[in-house]
Symmetry: C3
Subunit: 154 residues, 3 copies
């Protein structure tokens, strides 16, 4: 078991079966050393853990937990794309975080930290990444958060 | 004529003159094996095929057709950047799809399929890609859809 | 002093201390020859130069100046990541521009030119890039504009 698998185990996290794309695209594509992962929404056991905008329908805490769930799902997708070997991930390069919110909501960074902090918890310094976090008025399936990923892989 | 040109011909598609950027940037930039294409809006013969948000002003079907148009324009841009040789495209890597919509609209994946399905129709398995599809409250020139692209090229 | 530093001096621009990320992520990550810079908001001397949506709270001119400020900050981040040597930047590859705006606002390209024109003023042809410019209903700290960057570096 790789160091990363041990770390996930220490964190009490079991990666799910990677969520299937909800449309005609791929969960992950590798080009050179970059592994790109499609935008993930916060499915857990087949149900979204958060729907609707922050803060009128979902609290910042709820949205932050949803962002973390997106990150767990993104890592599950990456693992599947790497034939199960998370040890091939050299580092997390970039997260793109879209937060469904009401106009004027300004705490997207707090919400996005749910995903960012997860990557650092799992990968340590190699989990640190660049990020764009923005608000949007609508997301697929009314999800509260969508996160896309770029990993550098061996 | 390349296999891809034949496929476009079979599909009855004539790539347009690539739309000119509406501002001070380039239609495409290659770095290493990645060819990045600027966000395309659904111009056809100089006119946008869809304006305004989904669903209050534009139907899902109309927006899906607009997303397909963006993909046609993106491929036209790529062709020009590759000196006319679509055979240099190894695969489609990523689409970024922005759908202008009303709050709470949740069918961005259906709309984005207009672009994704086009790429698969043209390139087969090499047309499959990762994707982020999100809703936004406004787009350039009031376009209904904007799509940006990353291709892997030889 | 590099040619680029001279050019900045000619333009009367002093790069600031790079703004610190407002959350748990990195300002910049290099993978291969790509240097990615996190989404920048228009801080100047620790204060945002523009808050709220275009055009109800901020004019197009104000937002355009804010986009330019984001670009200055992005370049400051890149310089720090390159150990102070802007001469290592081969070209600007991509800008991702998010404009906080009211529904139906359609001049995102004009606003984004504040960032794009800055890059061309500094780098000349090597400053030209691909771009996605979109409207959103909310941004971190209520900033009017957020811009992320990809540079190609030696």
């Amino acid at each position: 078991m790789s160091a990363i698998e041990n770390r996930l185990s220490d964190l009490g996290i079991t990666l799910p079966e990677p969520p299937r794309p909800v449309a005609s695209y791929l969960p992950a594509v590798q080009s050179g050393h970059l592994l790109m992962v499609s935008g993930q929404i916060p499915f857990e056991d087949g149900v979204l853990v958060a729907n609707g905008p922050v803060p009128s329908k979902v609290s910042i805490d709820g949205a932050t937990a949803a962002a973390r769930r997106c990150a767990i799902n993104g890592l599950a997708v990456a693992k599947a794309a790497l034939d199960g070997d998370l040890g091939r991930i050299r580092r997390v390069v970039r997260l793109g975080v879209f937060v469904q919110c009401d106009p004027g909501f300004d705490a997207q960074p707090s919400v996005a930290n749910g995903a960012s902090d997860f990557m650092v918890a799992v990968f340590g310094d190699a989990g640190r990444h660049v990020r764009a976090a923005v608000g949007v008025n609508a997301l697929p399936l009314d999800a509260t958060v969508e996160v896309e990923f770029i990993f550098e892989v061996a």
